[in-house]
Every structure is written in C-alpha cells, then in structure tokens.
C-alpha cells in the first residue's frame, strides 16, 4: 500500500469517527425531573462548580453594591461642596 493510500484510509477513519461523535451529541432537555437521592459519585465533581457559581454571584453583586455606594457618596460630597461655594459667592 502506498503512502498516499495509507493517509487516505487514515483521514477516512478520522472523518468517520468525528461523524459518529457528532451524531452521539446529547439531545435537548424538555423538562427537569427531580430524584429523591443524589448518587454518591455525583457529589464531588459537581460541588466545586456549584460553590464557584454561587460565590461568583455573591461577590460580583457585593462589589457592584459597594461601587454604587461609593459613587453615590462621592457625588453627594461634590454637590455639598458646590452648594457651599455658591452660598459663599452669593454672600460676597
């Protein structure tokens, strides 16, 4: 068998494998079904992802609220300072 033929067979096998893998894609879910007990093998791999997701949400929300509070305080301070300047200017 020539090198060209060997490469052609190899490429054909790879393409066939790829088609099979794509065909085995999981189907779309139409509903969620609850179960009573969580299988033990499911507990460890999922936990870090779950903790990461909830931690991320709470940290991002907290940081945004802090940022909003700082912006509000800063603009309020600037407004008070300008108010005082205008009053002083009015008196002069």
């Amino acid at each position: 068998m020539t090198i060209f033929k060997r490469v052609s067979v190899l490429i054909s096998m790879i393409l066939l494998q790829a088609t099979l893998i794509l065909a085995q894609q999981p189907s779309q879910q139409g509903e969620f079904l609850p179960i009573d007990q969580l299988p033990p093998e499911d507990q460890l791999p999922a936990a870090p992802l779950l903790i990461a997701a909830y931690s991320f949400v709470l940290v991002v929300l907290f940081l945004y609220i802090v940022s909003l509070a700082r912006r509000l305080t800063s603009v309020q301070r600037e407004m008070d300072r300008l108010d005082a300047n205008i009053k002083q200017g009015g008196r002069a």
Partner: protein, 221 residues
C-alpha cells in the same frame, strides 16, 4: 431616597440570606444531580439580564421621542445592570454546562445571542463614556438594537438545534423545584428594582452637580 427603599432592601437582603436554605431543600434533578442547583441563580439572573435590556431599550425610545433626560438616565442605569446580570449569566451558565454538557461553552443560538447582547450593552456604556456630546442619541439607537435581540435570545432554544434546556422546562417544574426558583426570581427582581433606583439616583445627583457647575460659571461672569 423614597420611603419604600429601605424596607424593600431589608426584605431583599433577607431573601438572599435565606436563598441557600431554600435551594438546598430543592430536589436533585435526575440526570444532572447537584450541579443543576446552579439553575436557581442562573435563570433569575438571565431573566434580569433580558429585563434590563428591555428597560434600556424602552427608555431609549422614550428619550428619543420626548427628549426627556430622565428616560436617558434610566436607560444608562439599565444598560449597566444588563452588563452586571449578563456577566452573572455568562459565568454561571458555563460552570453548570461543564458538568452537564461536558464543555464550558457551545456556540449555539442561545449562548451566542446572549453573548452578543452582553457585548451590545458594553458598547452602549463605552459609547456613553467616550462618545462625547450627542452620544446619547447614538447609544439610544444601539439600545433599541439590543432590545430587539432579547426576543431572539428567548425563542432561540425552541427553533434552533441546541442542548440548552428549552423554555418549556420552567412551566413543567414540580413544586419542590418550582418554589425555590420563584423565590430566587422574586429576590433577583427586588434586587434589580433596588439597584436600578440606586443607579438612577447617582445619575440624577450627577446631573444636579453639572447644573451647580453651570451656576458657578454664571457667578464667575
């Protein structure tokens, strides 16, 4: 701030504090198990992501029609919240997908259109920040485009081939999973209202500061 703000903030804080207990009491899903519980924060934040994009678009239309800058301030506040809730959605989704689908990301219609919508909100904010005078009109047009994308995001899972759960999941939820979901939706909706009010307040105060600077200029003359 209005009288309702503080009591509502307290209720919202209590709801978020109680949410881990409520979510823990929910049943495990049969195929995804523990990781499916990301759903209880992922879906409400995704809804707030879409709602804030709608608020931004509607306020932009009202601003373009009336020229009233109060609507423009609401649109700007909503655009920032679109970025915030979009970020939460686009991070929690892939963390869930890693376990459920075996990959962090798939370029299907739902995830791609959500990413596009999030980038439109970023574009809106960048335009407002660096666009100079008159950029609010151009940004308003961009916001309308972002709102049009919301409908596409919502229905995309029903029309295109995807492994993302369809919109039929929520109405079919049993009580043990539905109650925690609606509890979290209520908490996120309250949070959205409070953050929007607070962000609009920052813009209102900033507008007042600008007016005061103009008054000082008048004194100078």
């Amino acid at each position: 701030m209005p009288k309702w703000f503080l009591p509502l903030a307290l209720v919202c804080g209590l709801m978020f504090a109680a949410s881990p207990l409520v979510i823990a009491s929910a049943d495990y899903e049969s195929t995804m198990g523990l990781v499916q519980k990301i759903f209880y924060y992922h879906m409400p934040s995704a809804w707030m992501f879409l709602i804030s994009a709608i608020v931004c678009g509607v306020s932009s239309v009202r601003f373009l029609v009336t020229g009233d800058h109060r609507h423009d301030r609401t649109a700007l506040a909503a655009a920032e919240l679109t970025v915030l809730f979009g970020l939460i959605t686009l991070v929690t989704g892939p963390l869930w997908a890693r376990r459920a689908w075996g990959t962090f990301w798939v370029w299907d219609a739902r995830t791609t259109s959500s990413l596009v919508s999030w980038m439109i909100s970023w574009a809106y904010l960048i335009l407002r920040r660096y666009g100079g005078p008159g950029s609010e009109n151009l940004a308003a047009g961009l916001a309308i485009f972002g709102t049009a994308n919301v409908a596409f995001i919502y229905v995309s899972v029903n029309y295109w081939r995807t492994i993302h759960p369809a919109t039929t999941v929520v109405p079919k939820l049993p009580f043990s999973m539905g109650f925690p979901l609606w509890f979290c939706v209520a908490a996120f909706t309250l949070l959205f209202v409070l953050l929007l009010k607070l962000r609009v307040r920052v813009e209102e105060q900033q507008a007042r500061v600008d007016e005061l600077y103009l008054s000082l200029d008048d004194f100078g003359r």
